[in-house]
């Protein structure tokens, strides 16, 4: 039992911090009858420390609104859903675990190591990494490999522009990313569910594509910890697990990097992980998806609806190999 969540409190009703801090009591009262029959782990959201209320997250300023080609006009997923229903195994394997464990992660100060086939390797603080770039809004569909999807307004910077600053050499064919390893901050790492650190990677031309961004925020505010604060990848035409969270290392290299899910289950997850309704996951169909907030499933679009923009990257490749 796990996924029942506390009622959201409209911001108009947030009177004071004490009310916010008392929310467990309020919740206990609100849960009423149901709480009488307490089931193990039920209403786990009561323990939540991480912000699920956007006003507790710092607002980002000077964000360029998304131009037409980088925004979908579809209804956006409510912030509450996007911040309480997460796959972030470093914070636990249930969708509700990340929001419960998120308070342990310290996203400030943060630095990233950029290394490998680059002219200017080194460790760089997050502020310095961001400084030369204008923050941009991108409203993308997010399609999880588990056949659910969301629409999320991200705030970030183009990955390609960031990589260019480190002067990739001609040998740089792939980019590898790694998530922080620290079982104190990321308690899910106390168990070897995956071979930590979580690793992801892109081919260089994918990484340079303008749709690929490094996100630092969503819904106009900094990323909640459970969504991969302070820095995560967003590649909207690939299944969500490619969009690695809480990045501490970026390496450019000549060989294709190992990636966590394809290491864990090579038969089920490949390197490319492009959204493709025609290629089923061995254990379930990818033809349809449930948009969070909807009851019925809807058809999944080729390359998550970004085929026109990124289709040319895969010309001549067998789409069956692109899962």
């Amino acid at each position: 039992m796990r996924m029942f969540r506390p009622p959201s409190i409209p911001s108009s009703e947030i009177t004071s911090e004490t009310t916010w801090l008392r929310r467990r009591e309020l919740l206990a009262q609100g849960a009423g009858l149901a709480a009488l029959v307490t089931l193990p782990g039920c209403f786990a959201g009561q323990e939540s420390h991480a912000a699920t209320e956007p006003s507790t997250l710092r607002a980002l300023e000077g964000v360029t609104p998304a131009p037409r080609r980088f925004r979908t006009e579809e209804a956006q997923t409510p912030f509450e859903d996007a911040s309480t229903y997460n796959n972030f195994y470093e914070m636990g394997t249930d969708k509700g675990d990340p929001v419960r464990n998120a308070h342990r992660l310290r996203p400030e100060p943060w630095s990233v190591v950029v290394e490998g086939e680059v002219g200017k390797p080194g460790r760089i603080g997050l502020e310095d990494l961001l400084a030369p770039h204008a923050l941009e809004e991108r409203i993308y569909r997010l399609r999880c490999v588990e056949a659910w999807s969301m629409v999320i307004p991200w705030v970030g910077i183009p990955l390609g522009a960031v990589l260019a600053r480190f002067e990739p050499t001609s040998r740089a064919k792939f980019v590898a990313f790694e998530t922080l390893v620290d079982p104190e901050q990321l308690p899910g790492q106390k168990r070897q569910i995956l071979d930590w650190p979580y690793r992801e990677g892109l081919r260089m031309d994918e990484a340079m594509h303008p749709l690929a961004i490094l996100a630092v925020g969503m819904y106009g505010r900094v990323l909640p910890n459970q969504n991969g604060a302070p820095l995560r990848l967003v590649v909207p035409w690939k299944y969500g697990f490619k969009s690695i969270k809480s990045i501490v290392r970026i390496r450019l290299q000549a060989e294709r990097p190992e990636t966590s899910w394809s290491q864990s289950a090579p038969r089920e997850y490949g390197f490319f992980a492009n959204v493709n309704p025609e290629v089923s996951h061995p254990r379930w169909s990818q033809a349809r998806e449930r948009r969070i907030g909807e009851w019925r499933k809807r058809p999944t679009l080729m390359l998550n609806g970004y085929a026109e923009q990124v289709g040319h990257l895969y010309k001549g490749m067998d789409p069956k190999k692109l899962y």
């Binding site: 039992m1 849960a31 019925r296």
Partner: protein
């Protein structure tokens, strides 16, 4: 308290306990909601309660052997409750995941081993639920006992169904499988004799 009255009370408590999760789900649906993905919540909750109740049903015979004869009628109670959750679980999948399309159901059952196993478990349980009344028990006589041995393959298939559907973290289904394995092991004649020897 006389024996009949005690049985009735135990029975009522079991039914109440078995229905409580459904009441909690309904209560949550009406108040705090069922999370970002209610269909998934419902599928998971009904699936887990189906499994828990089927395992509870399987626990009754060894407990009876240990001397807790008052629990004996609960084998059927828990079995039927488990079947009710399995039915809800199946219908949620059929209606909300597959949009009631028989073609899709056939495809899923044929192509996905975890659905095949779950579906087979459900199919095996159907005749058991239908013949669970005293009337059928009498009518079928010895054959009733034989028929109801299907509960064993059904639980094994249900456990496989759970083991096969997780992505990476096998801990939870492994715990259920361990409990199921122990309960099935108590059916081995040597274990049965040992239990009888332990009589409370």
């Amino acid at each position: 308290m006389d024996a009949a009255r005690r049985r009735t009370l135990v029975q009522a408590a079991a039914v109440a306990a078995g229905l409580a999760p459904a009441a909690v789900m309904a209560g949550a649906a009406l108040t705090v909601g069922l999370g970002a993905n209610p269909v998934e919540t419902l599928t998971h909750e009904t699936g887990e309660w189906a499994l828990r109740l089927l395992l509870a049903s399987l626990a009754i015979t060894p407990l009876r052997r240990l001397g807790l004869t008052v629990l004996a009628p609960l084998r059927r109670t828990f079995g039927l409750l488990g079947f009710a959750y399995a039915t809800a679980h199946f219908l949620i999948f059929l209606v909300l995941d597959l949009g009631l399309e028989p073609g899709l159901l056939i495809e899923e059952v044929a192509e996905r081993p975890y659905v095949t196993a779950g579906f087979a478990a459900f199919v095996l349980l159907c005749p058991l639920a239908l013949t669970s009344t005293r009337g059928w028990q009498r009518r079928l006589g010895r054959r009733w006992t034989r028929l109801h041995l299907l509960a064993y393959p059904a639980i094994v298939l249900a456990l496989l169904h759970f083991l096969w559907l997780v992505k990476a973290d096998l801990l939870e289904p492994a715990v259920y499988a361990l409990v199921g394995g122990i309960l099935l092991a108590t059916r081995i004649p040597a274990a049965r004799r040992a239990l009888a020897g332990l009589r409370l």
